[in-house]
């Protein structure tokens, strides 16, 4: 790898720090022969479903509409009551005890978000703590921490949902579900109503959060791409709530269990592998960099033989400011405002597929890759992606990369 | 009926018609003032013809005038959004003032009579109708008006050919509420000397005559139901694509 080392934030350290103190330990969720038949129906919506979601993993339930995935998920918090079978959270059957009490211990995020329009953001997030009778001061403290966790300014606490954008509302929905630090979270198409660009951003954010929190998550979606991106494990369901395949994303893409799964996953399985790798883990290229005011001579000589045939202007914090044109280089000194802006910038944490999409949409050949602080980590080009797909490295690095996003 | 001040018989100073208690061999039902005396009702049903017609005139005039005015206001408010709030407030005041008080606020201006009653009842209906028309117009999907503009209709044509027809269910719903309420309220017109079925409840010599109250009240209720059904039917004819809801 000749590119500069991508600024890799060490996620393991971060998760170690925060989860040690006050995050609860995750708990496995186990379905045993669970069936659901709705009144008046002549088929089971879910038929003898058995599934084990290991503690701390994201398990995606995916399938065509009517496959019973939402029903299967909702039986965990008994917003749908199962007809037969058992679901265990840890060793405890969800059927024991009061449904309302059970639900307070399970985080719940739905597609339409369902923030209460008459309550402030802080009150929304504090809903379950207040149901559980926490003291006001404790609730306030918790709300503040959660707002920070989802990256919203504390002043948002006093606003009302109607004053927030869709993406912000969805973040609050996640914070509300995390309020009492439940070991298990249910997410029902949580990003389904968000536009594609924000959707990808929210997905990345949630994966980042999950890396810290390590919840056991049941995640329902109809979108295979989202399943591959989000899931540690994916359960592909077919009509009647039967599991067609329960596997890691890599296994699902490499070895679909049958025609149904192959069909559902789609003909572009190879391309979907791009979802298994983060941009920062790809072999990024290196561009000559310079600061404003540098003499142009050395920059021109750097360009000879560089992977990227354009020089990138950065600031003192290595944040990209723009590409230098021939005209810029003709001057004796590097100008502070180059002809070509640095856009688009690609988030190092995003998956390769999204990075490629950004690149293609912008119509540019190269795009700087930056970390969470905006620091340059390398340059992404279409050739990098093509090499990745054709080199056979795809298959190998997939296997290596698959679990990495969620560690 | 000894002391005129003892009972509300003095109400309008009207003398009892001499044939009011026509003696029938009805087992003394009338004398005992039982809840309902069918024989008397059958014998005297024709005395309700005029009050019923007067009542119809009151209701029809008030709702028709109310509709015309409210419609004009609503179209204006639709064109100039800023007018919506003041119109709503003004019609709200008229709606809030009890009709019976309204009758007599008009006393120095229009005196007593059916006109006074009609003005007060009209004032009452304005807000109900105005509110429904504006809601109906506002609920027309923007893509529909956009499409109408796209095919070259003028704003006036859009209003009459697209927006008003689509708002018809709400307009009819407003008319139903206004009409039914006005039928009930118009019984009070008697206090303004406006006639109507109320005259058969409080005029005459005795407000405690139960059979009379029941007959007059029942006619009013029947009239309300009939108007309601007729409007419902009209709504279905004018907006066949949608069931008119209450």
């Amino acid at each position: 790898m000749s590119a500069g080392p991508p600024a890799q934030t060490d996620r393991d350290d971060a998760s170690g720090d925060r989860s040690s103190g006050n995050e609860s330990t995750a708990t496995p969720v186990r379905y045993e022969e669970v069936s659901k038949r709705y009144p008046g129906a002549d088929h089971d919506a879910v038929h003898r479903l058995s599934l084990e979601v290991p503690a701390g993993e994201i398990c995606v339930l995916v399938g065509p509409s009517g496959c019973g995935k939402t029903t299967a998920m909702r039986m965990v918090n008994r917003t749908v009551e199962m007809t037969s079978g058992e679901i265990f959270i840890g060793d405890r059957s969800v059927r024991q005890g009061d449904a309302a009490e059970l639900r307070r211990e399970i985080g719940y995020v739905i597609q339409q978000i369902g923030l209460f329009p008459h309550r402030t953001i802080a009150e929304n997030i504090g809903t379950v703590p207040s149901l559980l009778g926490w003291k006001q001061a404790e609730i306030e403290q918790r709300v503040e921490k959660l707002l920070e966790l989802i990256g919203l300014d504390p002043e948002f606490g006093d606003r009302y949902p109607s004053q927030l954008s869709g993406g912000q509302q969805q973040r609050v929905g996640v914070a509300r579900a995390l309020a009492v630090d439940p070991p298990v979270m249910l997410m029902d198409e949580p990003f389904g109503a968000i536009d594609p660009i924000n959707r990808s951003r929210l997905q990345n954010e949630f994966l980042r959060l999950q890396a810290e929190l390590g919840k056991t998550v049941l995640f329902v979606t109809h979108d295979v791409d989202e399943a591959i991106k989000m899931g540690d494990r994916i359960a592909v369901l077919r009509k009647g709530g039967e599991v067609a395949q329960f596997a890691t994303p890599t296994e699902l893409l490499m070895e679909p269990a049958d025609d149904f799964v192959e069909d559902f996953v789609g003909a572009d399985r190879a391309l979907k592998r791009l979802a298994l790798m983060r941009v920062k883990d790809a072999s990024l290229w290196k561009a000559p960099i310079c600061l404003a005011g540098d003499p142009t001579g050395p920059v021109r000589s750097d360009l000879a033989g560089a992977e990227v045939p354009h020089a990138l202007l950065v600031d003192s914090g290595r944040r990209p400011l723009g590409w230098l044109s021939e005209r810029d280089l003709a001057a004796p000194q590097v100008p502070s405002r180059p002809d070509t802006p640095a856009d688009p910038l690609i988030d190092a944490d995003s998956i390769l597929r999204d990075g490629l999409a950004t690149l293609l949409q912008s119509g540019s050949q190269y795009a700087p890759v930056v970390d969470g602080n905006g620091r340059l980590g390398g340059v992404l080009s279409v050739e990098i992606v093509a090499d990745f797909l054709s080199s056979g490295e795809a298959a190998e690095s997939e296997l290596a990369a698959v679990d990495r996003p969620h560690e | 009926m000894s002391d005129p001040l003892a009972g509300p018989g003095w109400l309008l100073g009207a003398a009892a018609p001499s044939d009011f208690f026509r003696d029938r061999s009805d087992g003394g039902c009338i004398q005992e003032n039982k809840l309902f005396c069918p024989d008397w009702a059958i014998d005297n049903i024709d005395r309700y013809t005029d009050p019923t017609l007067q009542h119809l005139v009151l209701v029809f005039s008030a709702v028709a005038a109310g509709f015309l005015i409210a419609f004009g206001l609503a179209v204006l408010a639709h064109r100039h959004r800023a007018l919506s709030s003041p119109f709503l407030a003004a019609t709200g005041v008229l709606y809030t003032i009890p009709s019976i008080a309204f009758f007599f606020l008009l006393l120095p201006i229009t005196g007593r009579g059916a006109l006074t009653a009609i003005i007060a009842l009209t004032a009452f209906t304005l807000q109900i109708i105005f509110r429904n028309i504006t809601t109906g117009l506002r609920n027309v999907p923007p893509e529909v008006t956009e499409a109408a503009r796209g095919v070259g209709l003028t704003p006036k044509q859009i209003l009459w050919r697209v927006e008003i027809p689509l708002a018809m269910p709400e307009i009819i719903a407003g008319l139903r509420v206004a009409t039914v309420s006005t039928v009930a309220l118009a019984t009070l017109a008697v206090f303004a000397n406006g006639g109507g079925l109320g005259a058969e409840i409080v005029s005459g010599s005795n407000i405690t005559f139960k059979t009379g109250i029941i007959i007059a009240g029942s006619i009013a209720i029947l009239m309300a139901i009939t108007f309601d059904a007729l409007l419902l039917l009209t709504g279905r004819l004018l907006a066949p694509w949608k069931r008119v809801e209450a």
Partner: protein, 238 residues
């Protein structure tokens, strides 16, 4: 006797004088009107109105909320509102007085019959119209039925429910004006007993009743504003 500026106002001037000074009864002898009697009758009208409104709320609100929460009885709840409008106020008061008897209790019952339907219908509709997503989220987070009603449905239904209460209050205070027919003397006595109070008394009564109804409506609008979450007002503004 009448000061000139007041006389210039004609009947309005006389009505003004009737309220503040009183005048001799048209039937002779006693003085009628004046602040004493006005306050007496106004107090009675307010008392009767608030009593009947309270009874209507206590009886109709829980039923409407219960039916709305469970999504049952839509026909009953909506028909009640339609039927309530068709009841001729005058016939109701007269029949109640004639068939059941005069007195405060019977009057309040009659007024509550007029007050209940709008509250019942609007409570039902208001609760029913609450966004199902909010309710689903509340249930999914572990709220009991009671908590869902108290913390989610009622606060969100405030504008609709208060709309019903306001309609109801207007019906009741208007009908309380003819309460003298049922033996309870309210401000309506000035209007109905023209032979005693004269045209000045009638006009004074009409003005007082109108002002009182407007004051009640404004008060209830204020109550509604106070009870409505700012979060809903912001949404409306947009």
């Amino acid at each position: 006797m009448i000061p000139t500026p007041v006389a210039a106002l004609g009947l309005f001037g006389e009505a003004f004088q009737f309220v503040f000074q009183g005048q001799e009864a048209a039937t002779g002898g006693v003085t009628v009107g004046g602040t004493g009697q006005v306050l007496d009758l106004a107090g009675k009208q307010l008392e009767v109105t608030l009593l009947a409104l309270a009874v209507s709320i206590v009886l109709a609100l829980p039923v409407g909320v219960f039916l709305g929460h469970h999504g049952k009885g839509e026909f009953v709840a909506v028909s009640a509102g339609n039927a309530g409008r068709a009841i001729p106020e005058l016939a109701l008061i007269a029949l109640m007085a004639a068939a059941v008897g005069v007195g405060l209790f019977n009057l309040v019952v009659a007024l509550a019959i007029l007050g209940i339907p709008p509250i019942l219908t609007n409570a039902f509709v208001g609760i029913r119209q609450v966004d199902r997503v909010s309710v689903e989220a509340a249930r999914g987070m572990g709220m009991t039925d009671g908590e869902i009603i108290r913390k989610v449905e009622l606060p969100l239904a405030v504008p609709t429910i208060m709309g019903g209460v306001r309609t109801s209050a207007i019906n009741i205070i208007a009908t309380a004006t003819i309460a003298p027919l049922a033996g309870i003397l309210t401000l309506g006595d000035f209007i109905i007993s023209r032979n005693v109070y004269g045209d000045a008394g009638v006009l004074a009564g009409a003005i007082l009743v109108a002002l009182m109804a407007l004051a009640l409506e404004l008060t209830l609008a204020g109550v509604q504003w106070k009870l409505t979450s700012p979060g809903l007002r912001i949404r409306r503004a947009e």
